[in-house]
C-alpha cells in the first residue's frame, strides 16, 4: 500500500503510454471544453453586479451548507452500508446492492415525488413524524438536505463498496489478532486503508448534492433563503435571463472547483 516506490519512480509524463494519454486528454477535453463554451458566452460585464446580489450569496451559502450536510449524512449512513454490502454475506445481497442504485436511475423529479409520498405531510412516515415529533421536512432546509442526500448517497455507497472490495482483508485479520473488534478494525484499519475511495465517494456525493435540482425543487420547493439552492436559482434565472443563469452556474462551479482543488490533495495524501 505504500506509494513511496511509485513516487520514487518519478513522474510518469516522460514515458506515459500513448494508449492511455491520448484517450485521457480526449476525455479531459470532453469534460472541460463545454465549460470553455460557457466562459466564452458569459456576460462578464454584469458579473460583479450579480455577485453583489444578496440572493445569489444566500443561494450559494445555502447550496454549500446543504451539500455539506447531505454529504455528512451520506457518510454516516452510506459508509456502513457499503461495508455491509462488501463484507457481510446475507441472502438477497445482490438485490440489495442493485436497489442502492435506485435513486440514481429514478429521474430526480420522480425521486422528489417519491420523497413527498413517504416524508411529505401526508406521506407514510411524514404523518407520523409530524404527529409524534412535530417534524415536517418538505419545504424546509432540512428537506433540501434530505433530497440531496437521497440523490447523492448511491455515489458514496457504490464507490466505497468498490474500494472495500479491492482492499486486502488480511489487514483486518491482523487487527483481529491484536484484539480489535470488527468495529475497531473497521474504524482504525479498514477505513484508513480505503480512505482514497471514501474521499472519491464523498467528492462525488458532495458535487452531486451541490448540483441537485429536480428532487430538491419537488420535495423542498424553491423558497429563497430556505430552500432555493444555486441550481434552483439557475433554473429561475433561465426563465427570465439566460445570461444570468450562466453567470450563476459559473459562480457555483468556480466555488466548487476551488473548494475541491484545495481540499482533496491534503486528504488524499494522508493514507
Amino acid at each position: 500500500m505504500t506509494t513511496s516506490p511509485a513516487t520514487e519512480r518519478g513522474g510518469v509524463t516522460g514515458r506515459a503510454p500513448w494508449p492511455l494519454v491520448v484517450p485521457a486528454l480526449l476525455g479531459l477535453a470532453f469534460l472541460v471544453l463545454p465549460l470553455a463554451g460557457l466562459l466564452v458566452r458569459a456576460p462578464w460585464s454584469t458579473l460583479p453586479r450579480r455577485l453583489a446580489e444578496p440572493q445569489v450569496l444566500e443561494a450559494l451559502r445555502l447550496s454549500l451548507v446543504t451539500a455539506s450536510l447531505a454529504t455528512a449524512v451520506c457518510l454516516l449512513l452510506g459508509v456502513p452500508l457499503a461495508w455491509l454490502l462488501a463484507r457481510a454475506s446475507f441472502p438477497g445481497r445482490r438485490l440489495v446492492r442493485a436497489l442502492v442504485t435506485v435513486p440514481l436511475v429514478l429521474p430526480p423529479v420522480v425521486g422528489g415525488v417519491a420523497l413527498l409520498l413517504v416524508l411529505g405531510r401526508r406521506g407514510l412516515l411524514g404523518q407520523w413524524l409530524e404527529g409524534t415529533f412535530g417534524i415536517t421536512l418538505p419545504f424546509t432546509t432540512a428537506g433540501v438536505v434530505v433530497a440531496e442526500a437521497f440523490v447523492a448517497m448511491p455515489f458514496l455507497v457504490i464507490s466505497v463498496e468498490g474500494a472495500l472490495r479491492a482492499a486486502d482483508p488480511r489487514y483486518e485479520e491482523a487487527a483481529a489478532t491484536l484484539g480489535a473488534s470488527r468495529w475497531t478494525a473497521f474504524r482504525r484499519v479498514t477505513l484508513p486503508l480505503v480512505m482514497p475511495g471514501v474521499i472519491a465517494g464523498a467528492v462525488l456525493c458532495w458535487a452531486r448534492a451541490l448540483g441537485e435540482f429536480g428532487a430538491t425543487i419537488t420535495f423542498a420547493g424553491n423558497f429563497p433563503g430556505t430552500t432555493q439552492t444555486m441550481p434552483l436559482a439557475v433554473y429561475l434565472a433561465l426563465e427570465t435571463e439566460p445570461e444570468a443563469a450562466i453567470v450563476l452556474s459559473l459562480v457555483l462551479l468556480a466555488v466548487s472547483v476551488v473548494i475541491l482543488a484545495s481540499l482533496r490533495d491534503r486528504w488524499t495524501s494522508s493514507p
Binding site: L116, T218, Y235, E239
Partner: protein, 239 residues
C-alpha cells in the same frame, strides 16, 4: 424579506406563500413587492416551478396560500382535491408566436413555412401547455409539421432558437419579449385559436387565508394587470 420594527403589532409579521408557474417569475415577483408595500409587516414567499410539480406539492400538503398555474389542466388536480377556496379565476392569457433566431436564417415569416422539411422546428411537447397550444394552432391551420424536438417547456424551446439550433419554434409572446434582441417574434392569425389561460386560486387550507384572497385581488386589479401586460400577457377583462 422579513419586516422588523416600525410595523404595528396588530398586523404582526405574517408570511404569504404563493405557488406560481415558472413563467410568471418576473411579473409575480413585481406584484409581490407591491403587495408587501401595501401590507406592511407581510412578506410574500414565492415558490416558482413547473405548474404540474406545484400542483403535486399542494396535493401532498404543501403549506401554500395561493396557486397560480400556467394552464387549467394543471390547476385541475388541486380543484379535484377540493383544495381551492372557490373556483379558480383566469387572470391572464398567453398567445403563441413564431420565434426565429436573430437574422432569421431560414427566412420564416408565416406558419406555413414551418411545414417545410428544410426548416428545423422545435415545438413544446404536447403534455405541456405551450405544446397543447401549438397542436391546436397547427390543427387550425391544417398544417402537418414534423419538429426535430418536442421540448419539455417553453424556455427550453426558446433556448434552442436563441442558440440557433433550430430555425423556428412556437413559443409565447411573453417569452419573445423576455428574450428581446436574441429572437424575433412573428405573429400569426391561428394563434387566436390556441390561447392559453392562467388560472389563480386562493387555497382552502391557506395558513394566511385572508391575505391569500387579498393577493388574488391584487393580481386581478388594474395594477396587477398592468404588470402582467408589460410582460407580454394578454390581460383578461376585469370580471
Amino acid at each position: 424579506a422579513g419586516q422588523v420594527g416600525g410595523t404595528p403589532a396588530a398586523e404582526g409579521d405574517r408570511t404569504l406563500t404563493v405557488f406560481a408557474a415558472a413563467s410568471l417569475t418576473g411579473s409575480f415577483t413585481e406584484i409581490g413587492w407591491a403587495f408587501e408595500a401595501a401590507h406592511p409587516g407581510t412578506a410574500v414567499r414565492f415558490n416558482f416551478g413547473s405548474s404540474a410539480t406545484l400542483a403535486q406539492q399542494i396535493v401532498q400538503g404543501a403549506p401554500a396560500d395561493v396557486f397560480a398555474a400556467a394552464s387549467p389542466a394543471t390547476m385541475k388536480p388541486v380543484t379535484d382535491a377540493s383544495l381551492a377556496a372557490g373556483a379558480p379565476v383566469t387572470f391572464a392569457r398567453n398567445k403563441l408566436r413564431i420565434a426565429v433566431p436573430a437574422g432569421n436564417p431560414a427566412k420564416v415569416d408565416a406558419l406555413e413555412d414551418l411545414a417545410d422539411a428544410r426548416v428545423k422546428v422545435a415545438l413544446c411537447a404536447r403534455q405541456v401547455p405551450c405544446g397543447a397550444a401549438a397542436v391546436k394552432a397547427l390543427d387550425a391551420a391544417g398544417l402537418k409539421v414534423t419538429p426535430v424536438t418536442l421540448e419539455q417547456d417553453v424556455k427550453a424551446t426558446l433556448t434552442k432558437v436563441e442558440l440557433g439550433e433550430v430555425d423556428a419554434a412556437l413559443v409565447y409572446q411573453t417569452d419573445v419579449i423576455a428574450a428581446a434582441g436574441k429572437v424575433k417574434g412573428i405573429a400569426f392569425p391561428e394563434a387566436d385559436q390556441a390561447v392559453n389561460d392562467y388560472p389563480v386560486a386562493a387555497l382552502a387550507k391557506a395558513p394566511a387565508g385572508d391575505l391569500a384572497r387579498r393577493f388574488v385581488d391584487l393580481v386581478l386589479s388594474r395594477q396587477g394587470r398592468q404588470t402582467l401586460a408589460a410582460a407580454g400577457f394578454e390581460v383578461v377583462p376585469a370580471p
